[in-house]
């Protein structure tokens, strides 16, 4: 063993980074599979919202999105927003599972092992992306069942999925940092709540045009509005304009900020 390990330990660790991350990912997927209550709660929430907005508010809100629009048109309007909301709800699950890991003894075991340091977090982030993808698929299925009629081409579908996965990835890093920073699991589950609320303060359920001036300004410039509009454009053919690039920029910024923040908190926690 000593002969093999004498060769630069750093390279060795790096070459195992992927393998360790996959091991951690399998661990997190097994957690989700064995304790599906978290996944169930993050999938029921958007579906309930969808039903609420379509069947309870849909008739009234439909008229607000354009003259002559009805409940059927409103389904098409609101689904992209609900999809975004589903993507954000995964953040709570990620923050909770990261925080649970950090507050239990097992993290110290990982830290005393010769494994890629970041693999714990990478495992959580990838797990979160997979979880959110599953949730989005279910929500999309329900949406189609209640009358969502996208006209996207295969390329547009792929682009939409790519955008959502990118968003989920950025949100996962952000919520991983929140989960690590939180002292208790309760605090961790509260920290990402503003994120899940943010789509509503945009173009998710009504057009920002109907909002008061200050809020409208916020709604137009907050990250979820361009993402929402891009998604709507890809799925339903509404004009996208610059929103596509702005959406990508926001997703990149979220991922980068989340990653750097996570890394900073993780390193601080390690050296205490």
């Amino acid at each position: 063993m000593s002969a093999a390990t004498a060769t630069a330990p750093a390279t060795r660790t790096r070459s195992y980074a992927l393998r360790d991350s996959m091991t951690m990912l399998r661990r997190n997927l097994r957690h989700m599979q064995r304790y599906p209550s978290m996944t169930i709660s993050i999938v029921t929430m958007p579906i309930l919202m969808l039903l609420l907005f379509v069947y309870v508010f849909g008739g009234a809100l439909g008229t607000g999105i354009g003259a002559g629009a009805d409940r059927g048109d409103y389904v098409n309007y609101v689904v992209p927003g609900i999809i975004l909301m589903s993507a954000t709800s995964g953040a709570v699950a990620t923050a909770v599972s990261v925080c649970t890991d950090m507050t239990e003894g097992i993290i110290n075991r990982f830290r005393t092992m010769s494994i890629s340091r970041g693999s714990v977090l990478t495992g959580h982030v990838l797990g979160s992306v997979i979880q959110v993808t599953a949730v989005l698929t279910l929500v999309m299925g329900v949406s189609l069942a209640i009358g969502f009629r996208p006209d996207a081409s295969p390329v547009e579908w792929i682009a939409a999925c790519g955008l959502l996965v990118f968003l989920a990835f950025g949100l996962a890093w952000l919520s991983a940092a929140m989960g690590m920073g939180a002292k208790t699991v309760e605090a961790a589950s509260n920290a990402p709540l503003p994120l899940t609320f943010l789509p509503f303060l945009g173009s998710a359920v009504v057009t920002p045009d109907s909002m008061p001036a200050g809020l409208r300004w916020f709604a137009e410039y907050q990250p979820f509005t361009p993402i929402n509009e891009t998604l709507r454009g890809l799925l339903l053919g509404t004009p996208i304009g610059n929103d596509g690039w702005i959406a990508l920029a926001w997703c990149t910024a979220l991922s980068l900020a989340g990653y750097l923040w996570s890394r900073a908190v993780f390193n601080r926690e390690v050296t205490r």
Binding site: A10, G105, R109, M113, S114
Partner: protein
């Protein structure tokens, strides 16, 4: 016993060495200059009350935290500059069970096997072997959340062993366990050293645990090592050994007291305490006096100072960790 254990412990290479370790959290000095040298294949116990700095010492030596100053080497590798090499040689079982409560016992072991980059087959074999050795085979497919404290601790240790570490840190491995589970853990720990020649660094607040397991013991108090040696050496450093004779009545006691000049006499319990080091020669001398004078003693007990005496003397504290019988007497 393998050949390595034939070599005298002091000449063996140091598995763990440290000099001048210091650590403070804000104003609170937790470690105030710790020096250690622990030879390969031995069990070393760091003994001390709560808050003495035991866990901090383990955390520094196992690369979890860095010391403010001082140096530490594990198997020749510096814990700060070469942490990864250190991590590849150590196993740590902390104070609180570091198991994944959402997985089964077997899955926990396979997780460790994956993280040690063992092949699937090797991992399965290793997991099965450890489950067997730790008598966890029946519970292998059960969720760890349903485990008792003793089972969790055993699994915790088993997980530490998956990577075949040469140096194992056990931070209060039996705290909170019932007496039977403690004995099981002790047996497992002892076997690690005799079968595989690993080095064990153990922290404990139980004196009998250190006495039972350790080749060498260091007493830590307020961040400083106040004594170090074998259990016997430590016991020898403090007074308190004696032979106690109990008599049927005061007349016998009075007569006997006349023959044992240095003895302390207790009229109430009808006993004589004769100071001595508890050796056989010492005991024979007492018996000879009794024989030659024809005095009948009701009973005789030999008291050797135990680690409780050492602990209390060294740390100068009365609130030492509880021992069921602080004045342990061993009838001979």
């Amino acid at each position: 016993m393998n050949t390595a254990t034939q070599v005298s412990p002091t000449t063996r290479a140091a598995a763990i060495s440290a000099s001048g370790l210091r650590k403070s959290y804000g104003d609170k000095v937790v470690l105030d200059g710790i020096d250690l040298r622990i030879p390969e294949g031995t069990i070393f116990a760091l003994l001390g009350p709560n808050g003495a700095g035991k866990t901090t010492t383990v955390e520094i030596l196992s690369t979890l935290i860095t010391a403010d100053s001082g140096q530490a080497r594990i198997a020749g590798h510096d814990v700060t500059s070469d942490a990864d090499s250190v991590r590849r040689r150590i196993g740590v079982t902390g104070q609180f069970a570091a198991v994944d409560g959402l997985l089964t016992a077997e899955e926990n072991l396979l997780l460790m096997a994956d993280l040690h980059h063992l092949s699937k087959r090797e991992g399965r074999r290793r997991a099965a072997e450890l489950l067997e050795r730790f008598e966890l085979t029946e519970a292998a497919r059960k969720n760890v959340a349903t485990f008792s404290g003793g089972m969790r601790r055993k699994l915790d240790l088993a997980m530490t062993l998956v990577g075949r570490p040469r140096i194992i840190f056990l931070d209060e491995p039996t705290t909170g366990l019932d007496p039977r589970s403690r004995r099981v853990m002790w047996e497992l720990i002892r076997n690690l050293v005799t079968d595989q020649g690993v080095t064990i660094f153990l922290t404990t607040q139980y004196l009998d645990e250190a006495d039972q397991l350790a080749d060498r013991i260091a007493v830590l108090d307020h961040g400083k090592l106040v004594a170090e040696g074998t259990a016997d050496e430590l016991k020898r450093t403090i007074p308190g050994g004696h032979v106690r004779l109990r008599f049927a009545d005061e007349a016998h006691l009075a007569t006997a007291a006349g023959f044992f000049g240095t003895a302390a006499r207790d009229d109430e319990s009808l006993t004589l305490r004769i100071p001595g080091d508890g050796t056989l020669a010492d005991l024979r001398a007492v018996l000879d006096v009794l024989d030659s004078t024809g005095i009948q003693a009701e009973s005789l007990t030999v008291h050797t100072p135990d680690l409780d005496d050492v602990f209390l003397t060294l740390t100068g504290r009365q609130n030492a960790p509880t021992h069921p019988n602080p004045q342990k007497e061993s009838a001979r």
